[in-house]
Symmetry: C2
Subunit: 201 residues, 2 copies
């Protein structure tokens, strides 16, 4: 029995966005051409444009699926009944696992945001903003003094993301330390610092 057309459609779009994410991650959005994407998919360039209206739409799809998965995981974790510190641990493990499983998309997300048209960029930034707020809230719960210094809430969350977001750009899978262990080190350092570190006046 033949597949339905609708199923084929979703399948092909998935194939395109996967191949494009790999090429955009390796060569950059401008450095990889639609012809490259078509070749990687075994399709004609015109067929790519049957499934996506523009190169930017493919980029958006790759980014949007990725940040959507991050937000879903984050929401599931913060809805649990656990101490905030444990939630931050679980969140870090989830992020590192999702970054590793979607390394191309994560790299594209970090490097190619400026290539999106304004409306699409806003949609991605909105989701990232919600992820940042989730971390801000956890940090404020762990260190109530941070709520008093509202100006430092977002910077503290951004320092956290700084530690883990770029991990897979320098992480060496052949190295002795596995990514799970590095994530554990990161959250240990950060939790201890956020609990006890001096907050500048």
């Amino acid at each position: 029995m033949a597949r339905t057309q609708a199923a084929d459609y979703a399948e092909r779009r998935g194939k395109i966005v996967d191949a494009a994410a790999a090429l955009f991650a390796g060569s950059g959005f401008l450095g990889a051409s639609i012809a490259d994407v078509a070749r990687a998919c075994g399709m004609s360039k015109s067929l790519i444009y049957h499934y996506y209206a523009s190169k930017e739409d493919i980029l958006f799809d790759a980014m949007h699926g990725h940040v959507g998965a991050l937000l879903d995981a984050a929401n599931a974790i913060v809805s649990r009944h656990e101490p905030a510190a444990e939630k931050l641990r679980a969140l870090t493990r989830a992020f590192v696992r999702l970054y590793a499983g979607a390394a191309d998309r994560q790299r594209v997300l970090l490097n190619e945001m400026d290539r999106l048209p304004a409306a699409q960029r806003r949609a991605i930034v909105d989701i990232q903003r919600r992820l940042i707020e989730i971390v801000e809230d956890l940090l404020s719960e762990i260190r109530p003094a941070l709520s008093g210094k509202a100006a430092l809430r977002t910077p503290a969350a951004m320092l956290y993301f700084g530690m883990i977001n770029w991990m897979h750009t320098w992480f060496d899978p052949r190295g002795r330390a596995k990514s799970g262990k590095i994530a554990e080190l990161a959250v240990n350092l950060f939790l201890d610092g956020i609990r006890n570190g001096e907050i500048p006046a």
Copy 2:
């Protein structure tokens, strides 16, 4: 009295590399053309190629001057007679100040490394490697247990750079917290974490 040609030469190269760094930071290396650089300098495209043999050579110059300044500052600080923790504080302040004063070059350094030819990329990576070793040594001095876990020395240093390297990509100069204060928060958190945080087995 007319300037010597040699003085003019260095001056023009400086003007080109400054304009190029700004354009590469704003549009990406592939997104900014040599014609854009020429226009920004009030020069012809051909004149640009009188001072630089290739677009990549301009990129290398921008990156090399920047990492060179970072390494000089780092070497000056670690040669002082101070506790390691004070050196890490001074280093962080110096990095954040240099990043702010060369925001374009810092952004280009973080985003466009892959555009360099292999030999030039190696030259930059070598200097970055020395910066990482300086931080590794300081962290091992602050937390001797880190020397025992050799596999975590480099990851710990990279987590440090993760916190501060990308600061100026999210930092809002109009925000309430100044960059100096955020740097202070970052080093407080990290120092406390590195002193007391649990190091995974």
